[in-house]
Symmetry: C2
Subunit: 137 residues, 2 copies
């Protein structure tokens, strides 16, 4: 998912493409990893002075609902990143910089064998640690 794809999705669904909506997408396009709302607020305040929480959270939710952003809960704070791709995968997440690396392994095939009478709705597999850059910094 890139900036242009996201704008296309927005228009297709009949949402308005406002300056702030584009700013938010540009922010995530320029970042490479999961970011909390806080970082986005700081970023937009540089340009606008102030920014309404409503604008931030409404659009984060909208983008998430539209599949433009992915979300994860890190220590009680929601973090977002541009949806990265098409095929199913998981993430390594750097605890220092938030950058991610895709993990191709998915344990659900073998795990679901242990859950024959259960209804599986969702799963989460994330690995946390330090990326090579942060390790040598």
């Amino acid at each position: 998912m890139n900036l242009q794809d996201a704008i296309t999705v927005l228009k297709e669904k009949g949402y308005k493409t406002t300056g702030k909506r584009k700013d938010i997408l540009e922010f995530f396009a320029s970042e490479d990893g999961y970011r909390p709302a806080k970082d986005l607020i700081v970023h937009l305040e540089k340009k606008y002075g102030t920014i309404s929480f409503d604008t931030i959270y409404r659009n984060l939710h909208l983008y998430y609902d539209l599949g433009i952003l992915e979300k994860t809960d890190l220590e009680g704070e929601k973090h977002f990143r541009l949806s990265c791709s098409h095929h199913h995968h998981h993430h390594f997440i750097c605890k220092d910089c938030g950058k991610t690396k895709e993990i191709e392994v998915c344990p659900m095939d073998s795990a679901s064998a242990e859950l024959s009478n259960y209804e599986i709705e969702d799963h989460k597999f994330e690995i946390y640690g330090k990326c090579p850059e942060c390790l040598h910094a």
Copy 2:
């Protein structure tokens, strides 16, 4: 981990075994699954009328630090359960009742191969859905 084990750990480490500490352990011993602080507060208020947040959260953290409780973040709320066992495993978590089922599969063996230059500190693998009881209720 059961009630008696937990009290033994408390005493060994020099912590006092107060009535409320026992109540909290009994609560988790009687429950079978992840519970939020809220549920514990409701439970203790039945007995005491009021209960200090401080008492709740201080003891949840203490038990977690001592390995008596396990913790997971579910939608921005921390949930706790008695530590269940010795060997490494993951959980299916029922979204309706919070009950858990141990999953023996762990994807880290194969996943770490994809992360040779990364420092792995932690990982999370959880499956969410409905348990057989909630499915047929």
